[in-house]
Structure formats: C-alpha cells, structure tokens
Amino acid sequence: MQTGYKTTFWISCAIVLLLLLVPTLGSKYLIDLTTEILIYALFALSLNVLIGYSGNISFGHAAYFAIGGYSCAILLTTYELPLIISMPAAIILSGLAAAFVGYFCVKLTDIYFAMLTLAFGMLVWAVAFKWRAVTGGDDGFVGVNVPAFIDNRYGFFYFTLFVVTVSAALLWLICHSAFGRTLVAVRENRVRAGFVGVNTTRLRHTAFVVAGTFAGIAGSLFAMYNRGVYVESAFWTESGQVLIMALLGGLYSFFGPALGAAVLYTLQVGINQYTEYWPVVLGIILLIILMFLPDGIIGLAQKLRSQFSRKA
C-alpha cells in the first residue's frame, strides 16, 4: 500500500471512531445533525464520481436520491417488506434508473449533458408529484415504517454510520481503482482517452450508474431517517444544493465533497436559525468560494500547506 493511502486509512478510522462517540455526548440534536450530515456526505460523494472524477455536470442527481428514497419508503410501508429486501431493492432501482437515463445522457457532453440530466431529473420530480396514489404527491410520503432496531435515534445513527462508512469505502476504492484512474483521464481529456483505447462513452455510463446507485443509498437512508419522502427531494434545487456541497469541499479530492456537505449543511441549519435572509448569506458564501476558492476548502488547505512548507 502506498504511504498516502495508509495515512488516509488511519485518518478515516479515527474519524469513524470519533463519530462512534457522538451519541455519548448526550445531545439528541447532535446525533440528528450528524446523521443528516452523514447522509448528505454520501450523497455528495456519489455526485463527485460524476463531477470530480469524470467531469460531467449533472443537474439532476437528486432524482436518484429521490428514487432511492421513494422506493425504500414504499416497499417498507406500502408493501410491508423487510428492510433487508426493501433497501437493496431501492438501491438497485436507483441504479437501474441511472442506467436508463445515463444511456441517453452520456451521448452528450458539457452543457447538453447538464441540461439533459436536468430534464430527466425534473421528469422524475413531475412523476413523483403527479403519482399521488403511490408517492403522496405534493404532500409527500409521510409515515415510513422502519424496523425496530433503527426505530430510535441511537439505532438509526449507528445504522447510518455503518452504511455510510461501507459505502464511502466502496466509493473510495472505485475512485482509486483502475476504473477511477481512467475516469480522471477521461475528465482531463476525453478525446485522448478514446485514442488510448478507452470506450469513453461506456466509461461515463458506468460512472453515471455508480453515482446514481450510491445516491440511491443516501436517499433510502434519508427516507427512513425522516420517516418520509417529499417531492422537493427530486426538485432541481436539491440537485443544485448537492453540487454546491461538492464544489464547496473541493471537486478534485475524494473527501472534499463530504467535507463540503458537512460545512454547507451546518451553515444552512445555522444561518436559518439566525436570519430569515439565509438564502442571501448562502449566496454570498457561494460567490466567495467561486471567485476566490476554485478548488474548495480542501484546495485552500492544500495551498496553505504547500505555502507553509515552502516557507519552512
């Protein structure tokens, strides 16, 4: 193993250990906040496979989050299936949906790709909105049955931590695999990658499916956490939100988006408590990042570190 990988491994272990201790701090709110951040972190990490690693701007990523959420909620509640079936089925469904949509989207690039993903995302939103009998329409699907072992704050926290850790580890492996490395090459220069023998369309399609599947995992967790799914989860602004998270943390690093999710989510909840003008604060923060921190928080940290070491 490379030394860099070793460091990552030990730091990750330390973070997971620290997270394991969160419930002992005695604050219900902190447990909830951490659970939410973990879910959004996974959502942002999944998007980064598409954006950071393969350079495709998806503006419809919330669709797979929502499909995972709705499927899991409906299978658990309407069909009363056990979690061990519902959740994997929901994840597979999100993956299949991504496979279907991705098939069309990866034929296009850049702005056209972004717009097509947006269109498909909004189609999912419109279906969820109108299919009232199944999804609850505009009122949302409220009252999800969850098994007893996660039907309490602590159980759900550990369950989420487990699922997110395993998922993040898998995503890390995928991003650092032969596939992940090739994906970066495709991001950097799609044409050149084609001329070294990479089927770039199929590669991007695979990335699309991976991203959609893991978004589905995050979505099903979110549905169970909230005991409900709402159409807003599929709306384009939700896709925009997770994009901002990824960008805030830093697209070109694996853990950047997770950090971005934590920071943005905390900020949003925080600002919301202090001012009704939270959108403008969020907007200004976003502007600052865009104008001055193109590589996000991680990028800034790296820059500072390299400057520091140069001086030293």
Binding site: Q2, Y5, L173, I174, H176, S177, A178, F179, G180, R181, T182, V184, A185, E188, N189, V191, R192, A193, G194, F195, V196, G197, V198, N199, T200, R202, L203, T206, V210, Y252
Partner: protein, 251 residues
C-alpha cells in the same frame, strides 16, 4: 512489402465543403510515410478519418487487411494503431507517470476494473516507457506543468503505450525550437526503428520530411496530387506549382 494501412477513395465533406476527396493512400510495413500539403489541405481530417474520430462519407479504411471503416477510435487503438495530435493532448492534472499508466491500463483492458486499485498497475512498464522518451526525472510532476517539448514527448509515450504497429503523428514537431525538433526527430526515428513501427505523419518542417521519410504524399484541397519517393516529389510539376513554389529552400 506488406501494406498495413490503406484508405480507399476516402471522401469527407463538411456542409458542402469537400475536405477530403477520393483519397487513396497506403502505408507499408516499417515505412515512414509523410503527408504534406498547405494549411487546410485536409491532413488532420485525413488522420481523423483513419482513426475513426470522424466518419467517412464514402470510401473505406483498412488496417492489416481488416476493414475498419466506421469503427470507434477506442477499438481501432486496440487493433494496433495509435496516434498523436497536433495540439498537445495529454491529461494536464495527472502526473506524467499516471498519463502513461492510464494508457497501459486501457491497453490491458482493465479500464472497467472498479475494484482493482489503480495505483500498483503497470508500474514497471510505465517507468520503462518514460525512460524511453526521456521523462524519467519528471515522472511525478503534473503533466500540465511540463515544458512544451516534454509534453510532446509525453504524448509520444502515451501513444506507444498501446503497443501499436502503426503510429500516426500529426505535426510531431509543431511549436518546437530547431534544437527541440532535432531531439524529437531523433527520438521518433530511434523508437520506430527499435519497435519496427510503420509511421504515417504530417509535418510542416520540410527538413524533417525529406530527412526521414521513405515516401511523401502531397494533399491539396483535399485531393491527393502526388505520392512517391522524396527525390521525385520535387520534380513533380503539379507539386511545384501548388506547394513547393510557395515554399522556401527545402532541404
């Protein structure tokens, strides 16, 4: 000699403008074949047609006797035909080492291995290729930060990674200083000799063209007006008229 690459009456038009018209050329095993012509003659288009980057309107392309018309670029590469580009075409935000490594991963068909760590794959061979093109010292640098000439060398290494039998080089010395050009040509000659590669290339530097080619073809307005040994090309009246007449003191 055995023909490895051949176009047969290749034609391509863009919105009415005929860029390549009925061009039939071939490349023999081990041959160094230069394609020259004024700007806009269709050289790059021809390369794009051969490598599957653009689709033909009519005509065909065959490689080692196999019809590869309409085959996707990534498949053509796997058959043993690699190319470089006129404008720098590397992966700027990857290290020099990774640039080559990715090409080797693709060659070995491992691009879709989702759960194999990429880091440890093809390390030795990557190092060898970098050694070959003289970039060993820069292996861990970001490719985008290399000097121009070195980026060209890197591109050559990437092209070679797929173990091609035929190499298409589009303006390999474009933008280089005379000194760099000499270096680059020496490198290309050494490698093609050592690996027994057939070389099809375009080049604006007539010194290079006449220095290394076994054969020269001249494109003009998308049409092939001459194909033959270097010493004949200067005597061809058509070529003199459209091309060499405007050129200055070749060779």
């Amino acid at each position: 000699m055995e023909t490895v690459l051949q176009t047969d009456q290749a034609t391509k038009a863009f919105e009415g403008f005929v860029a390549i018209n009925n061009v039939s050329i071939d490349l023999k095993k081990g041959e160094k074949h230069a394609i020259i012509g004024p700007n806009g003659a269709g050289k790059t288009t021809l390369f794009n047609l051969i490598t599957g980057h653009l689709s033909l309107d009519s005509g065909s392309v065959s490689f080692e006797g196999k019809d590869i018309t309409g085959t996707a670029p990534h498949r053509i590469v796997k058959l043993g035909l690699a190319r470089s580009f006129q404008r720098i075409n590397i992966y700027p935000r990857m290290t020099v080492f990774e640039n080559v490594q990715v090409a080797l991963i693709a060659r070995d068909g491992r691009s879709f291995h989702l759960f194999t760590l990429g880091h440890s794959l093809n390390r030795e061979e990557s190092a060898e290729l970098l050694e070959l093109v003289g970039l060993s010292d820069e292996a861990e640098e970001m490719a985008g930060e290399l000097a121009y000439g070195k980026q060209k060398q890197l591109e050559l290494a990437i092209s070679l990674a797929s173990n091609p039998r035929v190499l298409l080089l589009d303006e390999p010395t474009a933008g280089m200083s005379p000194a760099e050009t000499v270096e680059a040509i020496k490198l290309i000659e050494e490698i093609t000799e050592a690996r027994g590669l057939a070389l099809l290339f375009t080049e604006h530097d007539m010194g290079v063209v006449f220095g290394i080619s076994d054969r020269i073809s001249v494109l003009h307005h998308g049409e092939l007006i001459f194909s033959g040994p270097p010493d004949h090309v200067r005597e061809d009246p058509e070529v003199r008229r459209v091309y060499l007449g405007q050129s200055h003191g070749a060779a």
